[in-house]
């Protein structure tokens, strides 16, 4: 709900002109109300209408400036005839009217060009820019005519008025890293894979990785869904990355590295958040030392995500791109509180990006870590992946502890029960299949639909194909051991009871339906928590209620000045792309902070956050100018019998032909949003 004086946003018709302010009707939308960090906005104008917050807005000038913003955009594009010339003409004619030199025929030409752009432009930006302009010309026709008839400039034409504009798209808005998705898809469509990769890397350094293991929230807000099916956005990211890797080019960075600023930042943790922080700071000329506890780089994507989903050879390329910018990595180094105190003095800023590496308990009776066969998911995956990807073997003590005869995780003949429902638990059960387990069972409290929503359709079905047994609506009641060796589990069954008040259905235990499972291992993969021993107690860093580091979610500084946090240790266990998005923003804040000592957001970043709040995607929006019914391309996967017993990558990725036709389905839903003060 936003307080407005006038609004045509999303076809609403709010007109408070002439009404006293306390009688103003409100807009139904969370419109961007802020101009910048210090000021409120007076107007918002975008792809689907215009909203005025103040009577004093010069609408003729507002229209002109919006056209000018399009002109700026089209100067970064200019790829279709209507957009290229139409944009120029819109601006030239509007400015002519606004400065008091227009004629009535200019209004007609404006409308004619506007219609041509709406019907034939290549991207939505060209199609939608005329919308609010026509709204203004309709609802405030008299203002335009006054300029024309009196041949005088619009009321604030010669005054300094500020405008902040931002290009966005539904997918870009939905992506936590705000990747310029239409641009990288355009690179594929144009067969300019280097351009595609450069577009991705502007906000997302891990192109190989997020072309594979991203849960792609963008696809849930892909506007193509309104027509038929979402674009296979995630997989298209691979083409640019593969092009770079396959042809042995150097690295295509999004910009030239800036000269050394002499500033340096310590980054704790070499996972996605740490890598991203280092990458963008390095581009800004800030030196980064990245400290990593493990002997290998990459964090949870390396030791958590299995080889068959994320081949190390590919992730390694993403990491090499970061190294290529001169980032310094220090492995096998667990950062302590004492070191942190030192870092605070030695570095201009510190980024904590240590993830969440403690497996939470399943909360059942007799859940004692000393029972052999009770194996936390994070530790289990560490051991599997360090062997599969790097050949690290188990020590004698570890073999004893985990009851493993071989010097790698070999589960031949064993029964494994995993409790979970998210990506980590999927990794556990599918790794267990590959480690030769006789039987692999996943216990999940909720149903099939929810597990698919929490992971992906593909992930779940591939696991089923590989022979994982899913038991839904179930939870471990008790671990049963003999001399501290796990023997079996007592499992309760639940049913969903609808909430009479219409809330989320409640799980209720079915009495007498409990059963036992004999097993060798119970692997809890319900969730993880952050290990934050490294934070000196006296810093009294503020925590969230779920024991992660608290920031305001915009600039990612902790309660202690100069100490930043991003990724899972800030948000709680979440996605790679979330970590990347946070770290990208944080690196932007840090790059200014190390220079000025001030915490600030750019106008664009403020707008980015406001737009996300408003949400760019509208599932009810009608799509015109595109033929529906063109199906999404699906990539092939390795035959189940082959993949069950090997670690080869399961998904082949789209073929080039598939990728190109998928890219041609993209509607380039770019929009311009602009606020004025």
């Amino acid at each position: 709900m936003s307080k407005v004086y006038f609004s045509t946003w999303k076809s609403e018709q709010i007109n408070n002109i002439g009404k006293p302010e306390d009688a103003w009707e409100e807009s139904a939308y969370k419109l961007p109300m802020q101009y910048n960090e210090h000021r409120e906005a007076k107007a918002f104008i975008g792809w689907d209408g215009v909203a005025l917050y103040d009577e004093d807005v010069d609408v003729v000038r507002l229209a002109t400036e919006y056209a000018a913003q399009y002109q700026v955009y089209s100067e970064a594009c200019g790829r279709c005839a209507p957009g290229r010339w139409g944009g120029r003409i819109l601006y030239d004619l509007l400015d002519k009217i606004a400065r008091g030199e227009g004629s009535r025929s200019d209004m007609d030409h404006l409308k004619e060009v506007a219609r041509n752009m709406q019907l034939t432009s290549k991207c939505e930006i060209g199609k939608t820019v005329p919308n609010p302009l026509l709204d203004l010309m309709t609802h405030f026709e008299s203002d335009f005519l006054e300029c024309i008839e009196k041949q005088k400039p619009s009321k604030h034409y010669h005054e300094e008025v500020g405008y902040v504009a931002k290009i966005t798209a539904p997918c870009t808005d939905a992506c936590p890293a705000h990747v310029d998705i239409p641009a990288y898809i355009e690179g594929v469509r144009d067969l300019r894979f280097d351009d595609s990769l450069i577009a991705t890397r502007q906000t997302m350094p891990l192109a190989h990785t997020c072309g594979r293991v991203c849960p792609h929230p963008c696809e849930d807000e892909c506007r193509r869904t309104n027509l038929d099916e979402p674009i296979s956005i995630m997989e298209l990211k691979r083409l640019g990355a593969d092009y770079e890797t396959d042809h042995g080019f150097g690295f295509f960075h999004p910009a030239e590295k800036k000269p050394d600023t002499g500033k340096k930042v310590a980054v704790i943790g070499a996972g996605p958040a740490g890598l991203t922080t280092a990458y963008y700071l390095a581009l800004e000329g800030v030196h980064c030392d990245v400290y990593e506890e493990l002997p290998v780089l990459g964090g949870e994507v390396t030791v958590g995500v299995p080889e068959y989903r994320m081949p190390w050879a590919k992730y390694e390329k993403d990491i090499e791109a970061v190294k290529d910018l001169g980032v310094n990595f220090i492995t096998n180094t667990r950062v302590t509180a004492e070191m942190m105190r030192q870092f605070e003095k030695e570095y201009d800023a510190v980024m904590v990006a240590t993830g969440t590496r403690i497996s939470k308990k399943v909360r059942c009776e007799n859940e004692r870590p000393e029972i052999k066969g009770y194996w936390g998911a994070i530790d289990f995956l560490d051991k599997v992946n360090l062997y599969v990807k790097f050949g690290y073997t188990l020590s004698e003590a570890e073999k004893e502890e985990y009851m493993i005869d071989n010097d790698y995780v070999d589960l031949t003949g064993k029964t494994v029960v995993c409790v979970g429902g998210g990506f980590t638990s999927m990794d556990v059960v599918r790794c267990s299949v590959r480690a030769g387990a006789k039987k692999v069972i996943m216990l999940y409290r909720r149903d099939e639909k929810t597990i698919i929503r929490n992971t992906t359709y593909e992930e779940y079905h591939e696991a089923v194909e590989e022979g994982v047994e899913f038991i839904f609506h179930s939870a471990v009641q008790k671990m049963v051991d003999e001399d501290d060796v796990l023997k079996k589990l007592v499992v309760d069954r639940f049913e969903l009871v609808p909430d009479p008040d219409g809330g989320r259905p409640q799980l209720k235990k079915i009495e007498g339906a409990s059963f036992e499972i004999e097993c060798d291992y119970l692997i809890p993969a319900v969730s993880q928590s952050a290990d934050l021993d490294l934070l000196p107690e006296e810093w009294e860093i503020e925590m969230t209620s779920w024991a992660t580091i608290k920031t305001n979610g915009r600039d990612y500084m902790t309660s202690r000045k100069g100490i930043f946090a991003s990724g899972d240790c800030e948000y709680g266990p979440m996605t790679i792309v979330n970590a990347v998005g946070q770290a990208k923003r944080a690196s932007s804040v840090i790059s200014r902070y190390v220079q000025t000592g001030e915490i600030s957001l750019t106008d664009e970043e403020i707008m980015e956050d406001q737009l996300r709040k408003m949400r760019v995607y509208d599932k009810n929006e009608k799509v015109t100018g595109w033929l529906p019914g063109l199906p999404r391309q699906r990539s092939e996967v390795v035959d189940v019998d082959i993949r069950k017993s090997s670690n080869v990558e399961v998904n082949f990725g789209l073929t080039q032909e598939q990728a190109i036709s998928e890219a041609e389905r993209c509607m380039r839903c770019y929009y311009i949003a602009m606020v004025a003060n």
Binding site: C77, R84, L119, H247, L630, T655, I660, S661
Partner: protein
């Protein structure tokens, strides 16, 4: 699993194959939809928006160039609304377009001009501030941004078909222009395809600019004579004008760019014709030389008809025929077919475009045969092909198409092929003999000597796991190799059992034809009459020859491309002197016209007995190649198996590789006005220069088995390793050499006063 989609355009029932767009189907059906940016051989740029159509039940206008139809769709290709918006787009295109049609080279053949008239745009309705722009001079190419309509055809073709990726758009909205990519000036192979596809006068040949109007030029369809790819081209010809009345010259070469592609040698290297008048004394001398000759030496730069005349001379007079290039090709092919006789295993440059697994061995293919390179670029860009390039020298021109470079030691080609066979036939079902051959290989030895490692081969094998229509491209290094026959046999084994097609990259325009027609003798360098070749008496298309005869752009005839496609040549400009047929007549084997031989080309070698004037020579409006015909391969049987691999040779010391620079192929390209800016230089890497103790610009003496000569050395920082490139194009007829292309030599800095 190709699915047909039935739908209608303007009420007419039509159907689309999988992957076809609405525009493709409309064109196939002869339904006109206007476009300004569409180019058949590239992905749609989708920039002009003229091709919008209406679809029943769909609000708005749909772009036909990139939209495949759906079942039952009703498309309207034209109506008042569409016409209005298309007209509006043309009005926009015309905003501030310079009104210089009177002097523009494109006038009369300009898409913008045509569409402006088609849509009746007779005035500029909108104004937009004009902007200063300046012309760019990029060597053989001029670019005028004020004429540019940003259709993007040039950038698409450069990246997707050629592979240079040398130009890109500098985005600037209304100010957008085309600029060299990552460079201040255009740094490319100058194929000139950007000129060909430019719909307006923005990109233009600098040599052609302001010399002629499109409508004054006579277009003569022919075939490029510079390499074996057999690219279609048109010579555009006009008289010199008042200065030399009646005498014609070629003003430029163009191509049907929608479907065919030309390299710069074809496009810019066209004026190699010679002038001569009938000199009876020289003619008599030539007749007498031939009467006395033991042998005639000739290159494969010859028509089938002339080759047949020479063959008739052999048959009637017992004259031996020397053409090492064609002979070695024939030996190679015969050996290949003794192991794999099937006709189906031979790829073409067209099938190569669809191949998603390609291995190139034994050729610096990008310069040896640009047509093959372009096909690989298409395969790489459009189909994501995995392309392994195996050669002793890396080639930066191929970097963006090659996915794996495998370097082998000079001379070890036989071992390399054997290792390839071992790798690619691992899972194949083989005959006992073939299996025995593979089992007999000493991989350790072969790997060690050739320097091709197990890991590289494993990477190669894995990269081809999902590939389709695999092709093995065999280059002329292999045909020249002392072990050519066994190399061919091993390659045949791969083709027979490994599901590979083979493209044998013959060197010259008519290597294939000459090999099919002539019964060739081994040339041991003895005395011979040379026809466009060295000899005691030289007949040829060179003003210094003892008898001057016409060049290939001055005569009618046919050639056979590496695709075994017989292609017609037409005379672009006249010739007043004697032809080989005149000599043949004097010796009793001639005919009234050279092309009277066309119908007599030997049917047992695959020719069809069609008369020259009955040959078709065009591409259909849908791109079907209707030039000449494809030769059948004579029947053959399996008669042989690969022999044991011989001990692999070592090439220590200074090694040069005979390879011409981009745009150069032979003595003919060397003398064309646009390409002959400098004599060739020995070109080597820094490492080579250091080892040979020479520096950029030095005159160096190259000492080889057959003698020594001096030329300039040029340092090329894109080269790596210890092998230098030695050009032959600048050595006249005598430089042609079909032997193994790597050679041990001695190189010394020449003294300055030489």
């Amino acid at each position: 699993m190709s699915k047909t989609i039935n739908f209608t355009i303007d009420g007419r029932p039509v159907s689309a194959a999988e992957g076809e767009t609405i525009l493709n189907v409309a064109r196939r059906e002869g339904i006109y939809i206007p476009t300004m940016c569409y180019l058949e051989k590239t992905n749609p740029a989708a920039s002009c928006r003229l091709c919008v159509v209406e679809c029943e039940g769909v609000e708005g206008m749909v772009l036909s160039c990139q939209t495949p139809p759906t079942e039952g769709l009703a498309v309207t290709s034209d109506n008042a609304r569409l016409h209005e918006e298309r007209t509006n787009i043309m009005r926009l295109y015309d905003v501030n377009h310079p009104l210089e049609c009177g002097v523009c080279d494109k006038s009369g053949a300009c898409d913008l001009q045509n569409k402006t008239m088609e849509f009746g745009v007779d005035a500029q309705h909108f104004t937009a501030k004009d902007q200063p722009r300046h012309n760019n001079h990029w060597g053989l190419i001029n670019y005028d941004p004020s004429l540019c309509i940003m259709c993007e055809k040039c950038t698409h073709v450069c990246n997707e078909v050629i592979g240079d990726d040398a130009i890109e758009l500098l985005f600037g909205g209304y100010k957008s222009t085309v600029v060299p990519k990552n460079s201040d000036t255009l740094d490319c192979t100058f194929c000139g395809e950007c000129i060909a596809v430019c719909p307006v006068g923005a990109l233009i040949s600098s040599d052609f600019q302001y010399t002629a109007n499109a409508w004054e030029l006579t277009r003569i369809p022919s075939t490029c004579a510079h390499c074996s790819a057999g690219c279609a081209l048109e010579y555009e010809v006009k008289t010199y004008g008042a200065g030399r009345p009646g005498e014609e010259r070629i003003f430029r070469v163009t191509n049907n760019f929608e479907f065919t592609t030309l390299c710069g040698a074809g496009r810019f290297g066209f004026d190699y014709d010679v002038r001569a008048s009938k000199d009876p004394a020289a003619f008599e001398a030539a007749v007498s030389a031939l009467e006395k000759a033991d042998a005639v030496r000739f290159p494969s730069i010859i028509t089938n008809e002339e080759a047949l005349m020479l063959q008739r001379l052999k048959e009637t007079r017992g004259i031996r025929l020397y053409n090492e290039d064609a002979r070695r090709y024939k030996v190679f092919m015969d050996a290949f077919r003794s192991v794999e006789p099937s006709e189906k295993v031979f790829a073409t440059t067209d099938s190569l475009k669809e191949s998603t697994g390609i291995i190139v061995v034994g050729s610096r293919i990008a310069t040896d045969n640009p047509g093959v390179r372009y096909a690989m670029t298409t395969a790489a860009r459009h189909h994501g092909s995995k392309i392994a390039y195996m050669h002793p020298m890396e080639d930066t021109l191929l970097q963006n198409v090659v996915t794996q470079f495998v370097k082998y030691e000079v001379g070890t080609e036989e071992g390399v092929l054997a290792l390839l066979a071992k790798t690619l036939l691992e899972q194949a079902e083989l005959t006992k003999k073939a299996q025995a051959f593979l089992d007999s290989l000493d991989e350790g030895y072969l790997s060690a000597e050739s320097n091709v490692g197990e890991e590289e081969l494993e990477t190669l094998r894995r990269s081809l796991q999902r590939s389709k229509n695999n092709t093995l491209v065999l280059g002329s290094d292999l045909m020249g190799h002392p072990r050519a026959e066994n190399i061919a046999k091993i390659a045949a084994l791969i083709a027979r059992y490994g599901d590979f097609k083979v493209l044998v990259a013959a060197r010259e325009v008519n290597t294939v034809g000459a090999a099919a027609i002539c019964d060739l003798d081994i040339d041991e360098g003895g005395s011979a009459v040379g026809y466009n070749a060295p000899g005691d008496f030289v007949i040829g298309a060179d003003e210094t020859a003892d008898l001057v005869t016409p060049a290939l752009n001055q005569q009618e005839g046919t050639v056979v491309s590496l695709n075994r496609h017989l292609l017609p040549l037409n005379a672009a400009v006249g010739f007043d002197g004697y032809e080989l047929n005149d000599l043949a007549n004097a010796l009793g084997v001639g005919k009234t016209h050279t092309i009277d031989f066309t119908a007599e080309l030997p049917e047992d070698a695959g020719f069809r007995g069609i008369a020259f004037d009955d040959l078709e020579n065009f591409h259909s409006p849908l791109g079907e190649d209707r030039r000449g015909y494809r030769l059948a391969l004579p029947k053959a049987k399996v008669t042989s198996q690969p022999d044991e691999v011989d001990e692999l040779p070592e090439f220590n010391g200074t090694v040069v590789y005979r390879c011409d620079p981009v745009l150069q192929f032979n003595a003919f390209t060397a003398r064309t006005s646009q390409l002959s800016d400098a004599a060739g230089a020995l070109t080597g890497s820094e490492q080579f220069a250091t080892a040979a103790r020479i520096a950029d610009g030095d005159r160096v003496t190259i000492v080889r088995a057959g003698g020594e000569y001096t030329r300039e050395f040029k340092l090329d920082t894109t080269l790596k390793g210890t092998i230098a490139l030695e050009p032959t194009f600048d050595g006249g007829f005598s430089a042609a050499n079909a032997a193994y292309r790597f050679e041990k030599v001695k190189i010394m800095k020449a003294s300055n006063d030489e």
